[in-house]
């Protein structure tokens, strides 16, 4: 059935270009999915739905996800996967999952410091998830009556931003490391927190310019002319990390600093290596690289996205999950979020 349709499409295609000589411009032969705003391909939708069903099935009673890595960052990732699907967050089939996840994230937050335990990774991804939910999820009835710490999404987000800004102020690098009180920094944790802050600002929460500028400065200092991004400490290191390069590239884009040479360097690095597999942390790399390319170079993303879809189709498990370095919850939510650029529903994906 679908084959028939497809062959009809080919026939129409070929008639259109029957006049072309041996060579036909590549744009003519590209699949219909490439145009921004096109409908999402059916196999992506099917893959995504199966992944969400896995997450829905594995969500625990208290709203979080257990097994492998867990905590508010992981819950936030799952929450975003639901939000990114385009299902109505308030009345759609996953609205309950969304509300449960939100309650779990907010409950994990320290009411006074705003820190979402137990590391700034979790805090960063939790902040991002809250920012993406803020304004789209109706939280008037989020909490059952009498619940302690029953903050609204907005209140929780403001508190989270405050925590991140306070932590940054104490940090001589102007960035973040695992502990909110750490005095050293790395680009991986800092990326998580900074994207959270940028998303909060985009959502209308006040984030001091100075905080963004210092963090961007830190990333600049960690970005080599080649486009490689170092991990921690000073410049250097002998390893290449597509994940860190993507993080760098992404934060420059979202912070609206595409004019920076570091943005160009990191983006060029990625676009010149679209087929290159990551050395490690496959899902983590896919999660960032999809966004970095999407924000940086939509045409490169289109090519890269084709490959992503092919790979994820092969690696999706029978139960809809994706395996990963940090367990199936992180593997699944990050893989889905890498795919979610095809939907473009999350505010952070706006270009």
């Amino acid at each position: 059935m679908s084959n028939k349709n497809r062959s009809h499409r080919i026939v129409r295609h070929s008639l259109t270009y029957a006049l072309a000589l041996i060579l036909v411009s590549p744009t003519h032969a590209q699949p219909p999915t490439e145009h921004v705003g096109e409908v999402v391909p059916r196999d992506v939708r099917e893959m995504y739905d199966r992944g969400l069903q896995y997450l829905a099935k594995t969500q625990s009673e208290d709203g979080g996800w257990k097994g492998g890595q867990d905590g508010p960052g992981v819950d936030g990732m799952c929450l975003m996967a639901f939000l990114a699907s385009g299902e109505d967050p308030n009345f759609g089939i996953y609205s309950n999952n969304i509300r449960k996840a939100l309650r779990a994230i907010i409950k994990s937050q320290n009411a006074s410091t705003g820190f979402m335990t137990n590391s700034m990774y979790h805090h960063g991804f939790g902040t991002l998830a809250l920012a993406e939910a803020y304004g789209t999820v109706d939280d008037r009835n989020l909490w059952p009556p009498g619940e302690q710490n029953a903050r609204s999404i907005g209140a929780a987000l403001e508190l989270a931003v405050q925590c991140a800004v306070t932590s940054q102020k104490k940090n001589s690098f102007g960035a973040w490391r695992y502990s909110p009180d750490a005095n050293d920094a790395d680009t991986s944790v800092s990326g998580a927190v900074l994207v959270g802050l940028l998303a909060a600002r985009n959502a209308g929460i006040e984030v001091p310019d100075e905080a963004i500028d210092r963090a961007i400065g830190y990333f600049q200092s960690m970005t080599a002319d080649s486009g490689q991004v170092a991990y921690s400490g000073g410049l250097g290191g002998f390893d290449e990390s597509l994940a860190r390069i993507s993080i760098g590239c992404l934060v420059y884009s979202i912070a609206r600093r595409k004019d920076m040479p570091q943005h160009k360097a990191t983006l060029d690095y990625l676009t010149q290596r679209l087929e290159q597999p990551p050395h490690s942390y496959r899902e983590y790399t896919m999660y960032y690289e999809s966004q970095a390319l999407f924000q940086g170079d939509i045409e490169a993303w289109q090519k890269w996205n084709k490959l992503l879809i092919r790979q994820l189709k092969e690696s999706q498990q029978e139960d809809g999950s994706f395996r990963g370095d940090f367990g199936p919850t992180v593997g699944t939510s990050m893989s889905l979020l890498a795919l979610a650029l095809n939907y473009r529903f999350l505010p952070i994906y706006e270009r």
């Binding site: 080919i10 060579l23 590549p26 032969a29 590209q30 290191g237 087929e275």
Partner: protein, 954 residues
């Protein structure tokens, strides 16, 4: 409904292959037919005389085979030679030999007890001789031959064949060898016959080795000539051999050593058909070889002392024909046979004396023989007897079957029955039936075949390749080959009934047919392939080189986005027709028209099959034009084309597109229709005109992975066949029935199939199909991974460890340096002489360094007492950073600050952590790069080695 209409072709295709069947835990016995066929399997019970019922490994039901069609049944040789445990060896008429104990002797009968046959009453006219076995030092080394098993043939084309267990050849130069050990004192008995001309060498021991230079005869030893033969003046290489050799019309014995040679005339050999039966006695210590007739007449003797260990018996046919019928090698007590009259009954005694006369009895009680001699009855104590000649002129005897036992005994007879793993035989001259457990049998040997004129009326037709079936039609005769099986026969009509496949096999030697087993792997050859054609491409020396920048089809496509190229240089040929050939991974070849390709698979129209869609997973290649051929690439280019770079592992190319001009493009075929081919190259889709594409090869991802597990064998799976037609068309399917010489079945990919067996060259069966497919030309086009860099390979084998460097620094004077320490003091390497120093280059931003430092610190501390000193060299970081890092690691190591990186440069640091060990003399002894879990252990080993050395006194 899809169907296959098999077409008849008139040219024939080659299929070469060796077949395999699942090996059973124990090697099965093999039934050899007199026409050269063989079937591995086992006996099943049969009550009909002179008929074997044989359960072959390839069939579900047994085949009934008449004895006259059987050449031999060989059972696996026991791991150790069983020696007969008996008082006597009884030599019977016709050359039979039994081992056993004597019970009684009467005027007509001799009663013997012989395991495993039990008590036998033997007509004394059938007993030629009784010899002492126990206590005679007559230990058998070789008794046979029972066919070719255990023999090595030269040259390689197997010039020898077996018949009734005998070894036969008429090929000039054909040599056969058995590596049996020749005892220090040996008796070697042989019986050799020929039909036309005797011209052979029988060699005991080892002949000249090729590398050794021949030496001339002569020197201190005398050359004795005992007979009217001349010794050829040829070289005498170093050997251990004794040779029986035919010179002109005489048999001689010859032996040559470094400085001595001896030869002796043995006997004249009759022209035309003839036979010799001799017993020779070799004493290697003295070098004496004595030759006697088998019944004790002395013929010749030579003496060539050179006591070396001798191994092996070898027979070489020079330019005659030869049949080795009997060979027995045993240990010998050193006593030569007494000259006795061999035409009169007699008893030879241990002391050499002979009592002539008939043996009239055996007194078991007193253990004495009674001999009626000329001087009346003589009593001889049994232990004194060595040989008792009972019937000098015993009747000649032959029977359809000879059974050779593991003990060396052998006996002829007619097959009466097979029951309960026991073989029952009837022999003239023995009253009782002879019942052998099959486990005691080494070989079953059919008698020499009668004239080959068949008694079956269809024989002539079979030889023509067809056999008449019950309906009067002719079934096509083929040759079924599988592991342990070569069987001529034909498929009879049949259908799947659950037990075995629908292929019912009728061997031409059998009166019954049986379904073949489902797990069979093999092939049924109706027509042999022509000899392979020579490959001209390999021998060609000159070939025009392709221009580096090609204005070819792909060049054009790829250049279209760059600088425009002059495309008019050479016209590019277009495909000549739309007729295509679809190659499936299972080896199927289907002529068709390819109407399109999409994400799911290939769409075809075919007159040969009604299938219209083939999924990608099944496809190996399509030839889009009748003149499509594989690109002519040299080995290097082809290797490059089929190597997947590491950076493309995420996105391996899935297809090779071959242009009409021979250009090859690697990419991912996305779509194809009547005019266009869309192919993705490095994530960009390009559009090609189809008329310039000659063929497309599929590169399947699964082919990349080398499977470590044995493929699972589904025992219950139905037997798959692949029909190979003369025109090269191949179809793979599961057969359901054979009706009227046609094989009918169904292919998962192609649908219903029907193949006329008259039009098939070969039917491939079971696993053989994939083996044959792997040999097909398109199937060798597979991607391989580019090799991983060393460090990744090391990680895979045994976890991450430091690369033990083969740096040029090792063994050399450690470069001198002077650095400021974190505590403000100065460090100068040259001041440390007399101590082992460990340098650890690190930086705080280097994760692996931070991981390795505590363990390095810990290991070096173990060697405090030996004065080993650790200096960590920080690379270009400020003091604060260094201090913070040490605090985090809770270490107080000595840190030298390499502010400008000059020291790191001296130590060729290109990756950190790098750990360098400098011995007490100031030389670099070890260097590790990369940290990892194995570093501490390697460091400890190195330091132990060094400090132990230092502890040694000079």
């Amino acid at each position: 409904m899809i169907s296959i209409r098999a077409l008849i072709g008139c040219c024939f295709l080659l299929v070469i292959g060796v077949l395999s069947l699942h090996a059973d835990t124990e090697a099965p016995a093999v039934l050899h037919f007199s026409d050269g066929d063989f079937l591995s399997g086992k006996f099943v019970d049969s009550e009909s005389p002179d008929t074997l019922r044989w359960q072959s490994t390839i069939a579900t039901n047994p085949f009934d085979v008449r004895m006259e069609n059987v050449s031999a049944v060989h059972f696996p040789a026991p791991s150790e030679q069983e020696l007969p445990d008996a008082d006597y060896c009884f030599e019977l008429s016709g050359g039979d030999r039994l081992f056993g104990d004597l019970k009684s002797i009467s005027a007509d009968l001799i009663e013997i007890e012989t395991p495993p046959l039990g008590l036998l009453h033997v007509d004394r006219n059938h007993i030629v001789r009784i010899t002492r076995q126990r206590g005679s030092a007559r230990e058998w080394v070789f008794l046979g031959p029972h066919g070719l098993a255990g023999w090595e043939q030269f040259p390689d084309e197997n010039p020898w064949r077996e018949e009734a267990g005998h070894l036969i050849t008429d090929v000039a130069g054909a040599t056969i060898r058995n590596e049996c050990k020749i005892p220090e004192k040996a008796c070697i008995e042989f019986e050799i016959s020929w039909k036309k001309k005797p011209d052979f060498i029988l060699m005991i021991g080892e002949g000249p080795k090729q590398e050794e230079k021949p030496k001339p005869v002569g020197g201190r030893g005398a050359v004795r000539v005992l007979a009217p033969v001349e010794i050829r003046t040829r070289s005498a290489p170093v050997t251990t051999e004794y040779r029986f050799e035919v010179w002109e019309k005489s048999l001689v014995i010859v032996s040559e050593r470094r400085a001595i040679a001896d030869a002796a005339y043995v006997t004249d050999l009759p022209a035309g058909e003839g036979r010799i039966h001799m017993r020779s006695y070799l004493d290697r210590q003295s070098g004496r070889l004595s030759v006697y007739t088998h019944d004790g007449k002395r013929l010749a003797q030579i003496e060539v002392p050179d006591p070396e260990e001798a191994v092996g018996i070898e027979v070489r046919n020079k330019r005659g024909d030869i049949r080795l019928e009997h060979l027995a090698v045993s240990a010998w007590d050193g006593k030569l046979p007494t000259e006795v009259a061999t035409d009169k009954p007699n008893l030879q005694k241990l002391d050499g004396s002979v009592v002539y006369g008939n043996v009239t009895g055996f007194d078991a009680e007193s253990n004495q023989f009674l001999v009626a001699g000329e001087q009346g009855e003589t009593r001889v104590n049994a232990p004194q007897m060595t040989t008792l000649l009972v019937t000098p002129e015993a009747a000649t005897y032959s029977a359809p079957l000879r059974v050779a036992l593991n003990t060396g005994a052998s006996i002829m007879g007619r097959l009466a029955a097979v029951r309960d793993d026991k073989l029952s035989l009837q022999r003239d001259g023995i009253e009782e039936p002879l019942v052998f457990p099959i486990s005691a049998v080494r070989s079953l040997l059919g008698s020499t075949p009668q004239s080959s004129a068949g008694n079956n009326s269809t024989t002539a037709a079979r030889d023509q390749g067809h056999a008449k079936n019950e309906e009067g039609d002719f079934d096509r005769v083929g040759r079924l080959e599988a592991d342990g099986v070569r069987s001529h026969g034909w498929l009879v009509d049949g259908a799947s009934d659950g037990g075995g496949s629908c292929l019912v096999w009728q061997p031409r030697q059998s009166t019954t047919s049986s379904p073949l087993v489902s797990g069979l792997s093999g092939q049924l050859v109706y027509r042999d392939p022509p000899p392979p054609r020579p490959q001209p491409t390999n021998t060609r020396t000159t070939r025009p080189a392709r221009p580096a920048a090609r204005p070819g089809v792909w060049g054009g496509v790829l250049d279209a986005f760059g600088v425009p190229k002059n495309l008019t240089a050479k016209p590019i040929p277009k495909a000549v027709s739309k007729k295509s050939l679809l190659h499936l991974r299972a080896g199927d070849n289907v002529p068709c028209e390819v109407t399109g390709v999409d994400e799911e698979g290939v769409y075809i129209k075919s007159t040969a099959v009604d299938a219209t869609f083939i999924p990608h997973a099944q496809v190996k290649a399509i030839e889009l034009s009748t003149d499509a051929k594989l690109p002519d690439l040299d080995e290097k280019k082809r290797e490059r084309l089929l190597t997947l770079p590491r950076m493309l592992r995420n996105n391996p190319p899935t297809h090779l597109l071959i242009a009409t001009n021979g250009d090859v493009l690697r990419g991912r075929l996305q779509e194809m229709n009547e005019q266009h081919v869309a192919v993705e190259i490095h994530l960009e889709t390009r559009d090609l005109q189809r008329e310039y594409v000659a063929s497309i090869i599929w590169l399947h991802g699964g082919e990349l992975e080398v499977s470590k597990d044995e493929p699972k064998v589904d025992e219950d799976a139905e037997l798959l066949v692949q029909a190979v037609r003369p025109d090269g068309i191949r179809l793979t399917f599961t057969p359901h029935s054979v009706i009227d010489n046609a094989l009918v079945g169904e292919s998962k990919t192609l649908g219903a199939c029907r193949v006329d067996l008259q039009t098939v060259d070969v039917l491939l069966l079971g696993d053989r199909i994939q083996e044959a497919a792997d040999e097909l030309e398109y199937h060798s086009w597979k991607l391989v991974h580019a090799p991983d860099p060393q460090y990744l390979q090391e990680e895979e084998s045994g976890g991450p460890g430091p690369a033990v460097s083969s740096s040029g620094l090792i063994g050399n004077e450690a470069p001198e340096f002077r650095l400021e320490l974190l505590n403000g003091k100065q460090f100068r390497l040259s001041e440390q002489k007399g101590h082992v120093v460990v340098l650890d280059f690190w930086a705080s931003w280097c994760g692996p360094c931070m991981q390795a430092m505590p363990s390095v610190d810990e290991v070096v501390r173990e060697f405090d007492a030996q004065g080993v000193q650790l200096v960590t060299v920080n690379m270009q970081e400020d003091k604060e950073t260094v201090k913070a890092a040490l605090e985090r690691l809770k270490l107080d190591s000595t840190v030298a600050l390499d502010i400008d990186g000059a020291t790191a440069e001296k130590y060729e640091v290109t990756a950190i952590p790098q750990t360098v060990i400098i011995d007490a003399e100031g030389k670099v002894s070890h260097l590790f790069v990369g940290g990892g879990s194995q570093l501490p252990e390697q460091l400890r080993d190195a330091l132990e080695e060094l400090t132990n050395e230092e502890a040694k006194p000079e």
